[in-house]
């Protein structure tokens, strides 16, 4: 779940697609748009995601 920093609305990836339909990029960019107010935030960093996964795997193996 993503929490919009502007209006506080909580939404998931599925809801983003519906609000991105009017955009020329059709949701293929690195931003996610709040379905409630339209505020955009960057998607979670892939690098951070990868680092977190690595850390989790390391913790599990230990």
């Amino acid at each position: 779940m993503i929490k919009c920093p502007l209006c506080g609305y909580e939404y998931n990836e599925d809801q983003i697609q519906s609000v991105c339909q009017g955009c020329p990029l059709h949701g293929k960019c690195s931003l996610v748009k709040c379905p409630n107010c339209g505020y955009e935030v960057p998607r979670q960093s892939r690098l951070l995601k990868a680092l977190r996964m690595l850390r989790r795997k390391r913790d599990e193996s230990e």
Binding site: P5, L6, G8, Y9, G38, E40, V41, Q44, L48
Partner: protein
């Protein structure tokens, strides 16, 4: 527009007996704001057996399920999130349609017990409409851990409907809720709030005129008419026929008696009533902490203190951190030492040795080379500034200051006669004007869309440009304040002129304001990293493309032709002709143009008054290519070209006047 079917509700008049009402119970509608746990309540009541479908004619999902209530099967409807009974969004329209057309025998209003002040106005509206409301205070555990003590009996007494406290996720209070629904009584027509003498007199006159049968109270119909709700007005026009003109006359007279829209006046009285009720109902064990957060929150939205707080945030966050540290210390090191002394000389040396063709060398390390211009600007000038800016912006987002800033800007908008709904695209514009221009389509009228598009293209610098401008002006506080003052003046002047030239209806702006909180370091770092990654993935290629286009332009001579055309225009505002190149860069990306000025400033070519004048002009100067293309797509080629031409001329006019004033006054910067 789909017509509303408003019929007299069966079994809800005062004469109807309790037994008849309970036997007729077949439908329960769950309503409430988004994120209050409606779906959890729905799952608890139906056991997760739901059919989800689009509401006819819309893309809005509605969940329906069945439940057993004392041996009777009832239908439970999970309606889309609504903030107010006066709808602004499609979701709210659908939620209201369900209540009005499907006539549920119980309207279960689920609220977040921590945020009663924000949520009870909808309860008041539902009661005022004469609907059979049961109020569920959900998330009671969180309210209690926040130190809130809610007197349920007193609240029931104050609003005259059943109130149940629950924690839907754990099931606490759900049995009591079920019993309350099963024994719910038909609604009593109530007047839970007084709207002031003028509105009450108007309601009295309207309800006296109404002859049709409606399935909500005539008082509520009167309120919708005064608030000029399109669907209800259209329905009443058909139903009342000859009487409608008299009703319209009352609406116009009442509207003229107020300077604010009636929807705003009525909302205020709902909010005031809720405050009065809660004063006796809620006790807080954490008054000192809550009191400070609440006071700070209000101060942030007050025109005077909010303005001072905004200046403080701008000074510390943007000027000192982004400007002095990011654009000063960091950029000096990365541009001057890392790129200036190490990377670029090394790349030039390698190119000279291994690439025999001058054209190819120029493409990589020439004046407009991919490495020496595109990547140097991207990594050495813009990246450190975007990085520090993203960090500050993440703190602002995580603290909850952003929605308060939106409310503050809304007040400024009302002052100059603009629509409050333009707040969201304007706030977004500080991130990226191109995307903000797409968001203007959420505004209701063409007038609003055109004004907001114009203001975004003219007076709202995007985050990257803002950072670079702060960097350029960080050496002089006077220069920074002249830049800010001029932009605010231009925004107010163009905004109010445009609002007068393009007259039309003003709409109110409502926004949920979440509580203030201390930013969490992990959130701030994660958001900053995400923004930097976005910058590198999406913006960096633009810098490279711009370098290639400039290289091509130089190769073909087109570039020199355009620059020589721009030079006299730039010189006319007292800025050295060399800056024409930076203005040309501005066509590609706003921050690219600002980075060009930064380069000239670092080389000592651009200082003093010309520096401020060029910073102001390039901020106002034409939108970047991406923004212009979106403007064409959203507003049409004619409007987009008119806006771009107006901005081009206006930006240089402002630069000319500013230069004339500053030079005439003998200002030293």
């Amino acid at each position: 527009m789909t017509k509303l079917k408003l019929f007299r509700r069966q079994g809800t008049s005062q004469k109807t007996g309790e037994t008849e009402f309970q036997e007729s119970l077949v439908k329960i509608a769950i309503v409430g704001n988004p994120n209050v746990g409606k779906s959890v309540v729905f799952n608890r009541l139906t056991g997760r057996h739901a059919v989800i479908s689009n509401y006819p004619g819309t893309t809005v999902d509605v969940s329906r399920g069945k439940a057993n209530l004392d041996g009777r099967q009832v239908e439970i409807i999970d309606t889309p999130g609504m903030y107010s009974f006066l709808p602004l969004t499609e979701e709210e329209r659908v939620a209201r349609k369900i209540i009005l057309e499907e006539e549920p025998e119980v309207v279960l209003h689920v609220v977040d017990a921590k945020n009663l002040e924000r949520m009870l106005p909808l309860t008041i509206q539902l009661i005022e409409a004469g609907l059979p409301v049961v109020l569920e205070l959900n998330m009671m555990d969180e309210a209690e851990s926040n130190g809130l003590e809610i007197d349920i009996t007193r609240l029931e007494h104050e609003i005259g409907i059943p109130v149940v406290a629950t924690v839907a996720v754990t099931g606490r209070g759900m049995d009591t809720l079920w019993q309350t629904i099963a024994s719910a009584r038909p609604p009593r027509w109530q007047t839970p709030v007084q709207h002031g003498e003028v509105v009450e007199a108007a309601l009295h006159r309207i309800t006296g005129i109404l002859r049709g049968n409606y399935n909500i109270s005539n008082r509520s119909i009167g309120l919708f008419l005064l608030e000029e709700d399109r669907e209800i007005t259209e329905h009443v026009r058909e139903k009342e026929e000859a009487n409608f003109d008299s009703i319209r006359e009352v609406v116009i007279q009442t509207r003229d008696a107020y300077s604010q829209p009636l929807s705003y006046v009525i909302t205020l009285s709902h909010q005031q009533r809720v405050k009065d009720i809660l004063g006796d109902v809620i006790a807080s064990h954490d008054k000192v902490r809550q009191g400070f957060a609440e006071k700070l929150s209000r101060a942030m939205m007050h025109p005077l203190s909010g303005g001072l707080i905004f200046l403080f945030v701008t000074f510390v966050g943007l000027y000192l951190f982004v400007g002095v540290f990011g654009a000063g210390i960091l950029v000096d090191f990365i541009e001057g030492t890392v790129f200036g002394q190490w990377i670029n000389p090394w790349l030039t040396d390698i190119s000279t040795r291994f690439i025999p063709w001058e054209i190819a060398r120029d493409l990589l390390v020439g004046d407009y080379g991919i490495f020496t211009l595109g990547l140097t600007y991207a990594f050495a000038i813009v990246l450190p500034i975007v990085g520090t800016f993203s960090l500050v912006f993440a703190i602002i987002e995580d603290s909850g200051y952003l929605p308060r800033l939106a409310m503050l800007i809304d007040r400024l908008f009302k002052f100059i006669g603009l629509n409050g709904r333009a707040v969201i695209p304007i706030v977004l514009g500080f991130g990226c004007d191109t995307m903000a221009t797409i968001v203007t389509r959420t505004q209701e009228t063409k007038r609003e869309r055109v004004i907001t598009t114009l203001l975004l293209a003219l007076a709202i610098p995007c985050s990257a440009q803002l950072g670079v401008i702060f960097g350029i002006l960080s050496g002089s506080t006077a220069a920074l304040f002249i830049w800010i003052g001029t932009l605010i003046l231009v925004f107010l002047l163009v905004g109010s002129l445009a609002a007068r030239v393009l007259p039309g209806e003003r709409a109110s702006f409502y926004m949920e304001v979440p509580p203030l909180r201390l930013p969490r370091i992990s959130n701030v770092l994660s958001k900053t990293a995400s923004r930097l990654e976005w910058y590198l993935v999406e913006v960096l290629p633009m810098f490279i493309i711009a370098s290639v286009v400039l290289w091509l332009g130089e190769l073909t001579g087109v570039f020199s032709y355009i620059i020589s055309g721009l030079e006299p225009v730039v010189e006319s505002i007292g800025v050295p002709g060399d800056a024409a190149v930076a203005f040309f860069y501005g066509f590609f990306r706003r921050d690219f143009g600002a980075a060009g000025l930064y380069d000239l400033h670092s080389a000592g070519i651009l200082t003093g008054i010309p520096l401020v004048v060029s910073a102001v002009t390039i901020t106002l100067f034409v939108p970047c290519i991406a923004q212009f293309l979106v403007m064409v797509r959203e507003r049409g080629i004619r409007t987009a070209l008119s806006i771009a031409l107006f901005i081009f001329l206006f930006a240089f006019l402002v630069g000319y006047v500013l230069n004339w004033i500053l030079t005439g006054l003998g200002v030293t910067i």
